[in-house]
């Protein structure tokens, strides 16, 4: 089979090419077949590749397909590296990706850009796989930028609207900011290790001592982390993600929940051995993660747009993941990626199903009582909600609790922040759930037309729900009698046999129990609080909002960050550009430097022309003066 694995990323690319070039003519059915077929094909191949990898002794399957862009001492092969880490991601991408493709068939079927949509979607899968499987940082960067492009295109999918293009542009540019970090990081790593092939870097890193203080690697890893914040929407580069909801809902599910936004975490896990060498970076990661988790969660408390709520929750969850990584819990962090992929995808698709039912109505306050109308959606959403609020026994509980536990070991403050964030999560999730499905319908017109979504949409919901539940098998914490399977599983990838392995020093089980109990209690408490505040309409919440007007406005307007950026960053830059152009370029360089000399020459010319008076006596005089000069020179 090995010789077919290159098709894993290439198949979706071919599908994308086909859909892009011929899709419009071929018709929707063909597009559907191709679009789904290629992803399914690469899913099958991925599975086989995964087990082939597991069969290998060192769990590392590296396939090379020749040189790409080598020159001088730089060598960048086309290569795929499949190991537990990338393998899992690969499965998630192809698997969840496939489900979402299926979902899209139903969701997009009346859109005239159908072919274009699947072209982009396939292209995204291709790039995402490149990002995951790339054997060298450069190749990963291809995927890294590629997914950015696809998210740009998909966010701006409804390009004839006003907001979608703006959101797409915003997403791409903010990602680009992060990409700068990655680029610089790569340059530093290349200068440090003389190679950009991941496996070589990790092997070399294995023999290095952790950096004391701020060193090269710290710089490099911090730069990479900047990139991660860009992709994974962490402070301060999270702004694009909420706007990204302008895209079609399946996109939000696939790109902005399940896969792309987790690539930041993936990058760090990929380079875990290097990050382990740089304690400073780890602290930064942890703190940024924690703060983001809380920050986003608070905003999520008051949003009205169902997708916006989910978006902020995504940001917040990503924060949790980084918190986990920062606490050296690569396995924990990645496990949360895994679980989150399932339940967040589920949540989005559920939301999508609701929106679809409500004829593209996204305002929570206009929903309500949909439980009766769309049971399938209701039940699957319930599963996902329980998972995300960390209801004991769910996969969400497992991953989040492991993270909080490690966070506590790193620094109690982190744990506190985490718990608060978790409470907020519980609150707004219940708020969302209640406002959507329970209570009385607030918009009867929409409610009357609401209906359960077609099977092509509900089926994926079901599968995802199953996945959400089953995911727990991978990593039920040791503290609760489970065997945190995923840690051992990822070990070959995260610890490249280096001397200083990632060390979450394990405290006692009592501690674990205690922490878990506290956080769970708080979480469930706020969940209940959320339910009761909204179960009979908006009255309660409005009253509360009236009580804390300032806080409410602040949260409602997302802390006014967008306005601040526009005012204090973008406008000055544009102004500066104008100054450079109008003042510096046109006036100083071109005017003073170029045209002024020309003008001066002309002025001199006018002056010298004055000597040509037309009076012969003057001519004779100038001759006489000339004669005087001649005589003087000759006689002196």
């Amino acid at each position: 089979m090995n010789k077919y694995y290159w098709l894993i990323p290439i198949l979706p690319l071919l599908g994308s090419a086909f859909n892009g070039l011929l899709g419009k003519r071929a018709g929707k059915s063909v597009v559907t077949v191709v679009g789904l077929g290629v992803v399914f094909g690469s899913l099958l191949l991925a599975i086989s590749a995964f087990f082939a990898m597991k069969a290998l002794p060192d769990h590392r399957l590296i396939l090379n397909y020749g040189e790409w862009m080598g020159t001088g001492s730089l060598s960048v092969p086309f290569g795929l590296a499949i190991d537990p880490l990338s393998g899992t991601m690969m499965l998630v991408i192809t698997g969840i990706g496939f489900l979402i493709h299926v979902y899209s068939v139903g969701y997009m079927h009346e859109d005239e850009g159908y072919a274009r949509f699947f072209c982009y979607l396939n292209l995204f899968v291709f790039f995402m796989l490149m990002l995951v499987l790339g054997s060298s940082l450069v190749l990963m960067f291809v995927g890294w930028e590629g997914v950015g492009l696809c998210s740009y295109l998909l966010i701006g999918y409804f390009f004839e609207t006003d907001f979608a293009p703006a959101a797409g542009l915003k997403a791409f540019l903010m990602n680009r900011v992060g990409d700068l970090g990655v680029a610089i990081g790569m340059m530093v790593l290349f200068a440090a290790f003389g190679t950009l092939t991941v496996s070589d870097i990790l092997t070399q890193a294995g023999h290095l001592a952790p950096e004391v203080g701020f060193g090269v690697l710290t710089f490099a890893t911090l730069m990479l982390f900047v990139g991660a914040t860009g992709k994974s929407a962490q402070l301060p580069l999270y702004l694009w993600l909420p706007d990204a909801m302008a895209g079609p809902t399946p996109v939000s599910a696939l790109i902005h929940a399940a896969t792309m936004v987790t690539s930041g975490i993936y990058l760090i896990c990929r380079l875990a051995p290097v990050f382990t060498l740089t304690p400073i970076t780890m602290d930064v990661v942890a703190w940024v993660g924690a703060v983001t988790a809380l920050f986003a969660a608070t905003i999520g408390l008051v949003q009205r747009d169902i997708k916006k709520v989910l978006a902020y929750s995504t940001v917040s969850q990503l924060g949790f993941m980084f918190l986990g990584l920062g606490a050296s819990g690569f396995a924990a962090g990645f496990f949360h990626v895994f679980t989150h992929a399932w339940f967040k995808a589920l949540l989005f698709l559920g939301a999508g199903s609701v929106i679809h039912a409500m004829h593209h109505e996204q305002d929570l306050f206009k929903m309500g009582g949909l439980k009766a109308k769309m049971p399938a959606t209701f039940w699957t959403m319930l599963v996902a909600t329980l998972a995300i609020i960390g209801f004991p026994g769910t996969s969400g509980f497992a991953s989040k609790d492991e993270i909080l536990y490690l966070a506590y070991l790193k620094h109690p403050a982190l744990w506190v922040i985490g718990v608060i964030a978790a409470c907020c999560t519980a609150f707004y999730m219940l708020r969302l759930f209640t406002l959507t499905f329970l209570g009385k319908p607030r918009d009867h017109h929409a409610f009357d037309h609401a209906h359960e979504s077609p099977v092509s949409m509900t089926l994926p919901l079901a599968v995802l729900a199953v996945g959400t539940v089953a995911a727990v098998w991978l990593g039920w914490p040791k503290a609760f009698g489970g065997d945190f399977r995923i840690e051992a599983w990822l070990a070959p990838a995260t610890t490249y046999g280096q001397l200083h392995a990632a060390h979450g020093e394990h405290g006692s089980h009592q501690l674990a129990w205690g922490l878990a109990a506290v956080s769970t209690l708080f979480g469930l408490g706020s969940a209940v609080f959320g339910y009761f505040s909204y179960k009979d309409g908006l009255a309660v919440s409005e009253a509360r909002a009236a009580k804390f007007p300032f806080l409410h406005t602040l949260l409602l307007n997302k802390y006014f960050v967008d306005e601040g950026v526009e005012l204090y960053l973008l406008r000055p830059i544009r102004w500066f550009g104008n100054v450079l152009w109008k003042l510096f370029d046109v006036i100083i360089i071109d005017g003073v430097g170029v045209n002024l000399p020309g003008a001066l020459v002309r002025v001199f010319g006018d002056f010298t022309a004055l000597f040509q008076t037309g009076r012969v006596r003057n001519y004779a005089l100038s001759m006489a003066l000339g004669a005087a000069v001649l005589l003087y020179v000759f006689l002196k």
Partner: protein, 109 residues
Amino acid sequence: MTGMDAILQGGLQGYLVVALLLFAIGLATVLLRRTLLMQFMGVELMLNAANVALLAFARFRGGDAQATVFYLFIIAVAACEAAVGLALIIGLYRHRNTTDSDRAAGLKQ
């Protein structure tokens, strides 16, 4: 004999001084007078100055006949210049009805 005496007693220097002064006066005429005819006469004067110098040298070189021949040619030249120059002046006068060179300054800059 010293320079001044030589000049006053008609030595070679004397003639040269006369010649050069004539030359200067001729030049001055061209520079200071506006009437074209005057300027023309100034030019003639300059030529004459050259003649004086020429023949003076010739005399002190033991009466060199070449110089006289040259003088002959110079006279011819002077005549030619007179002819053409006066013709030009007349032509100009026909158009501008003046012989004031300052007022015949249509071509300038």
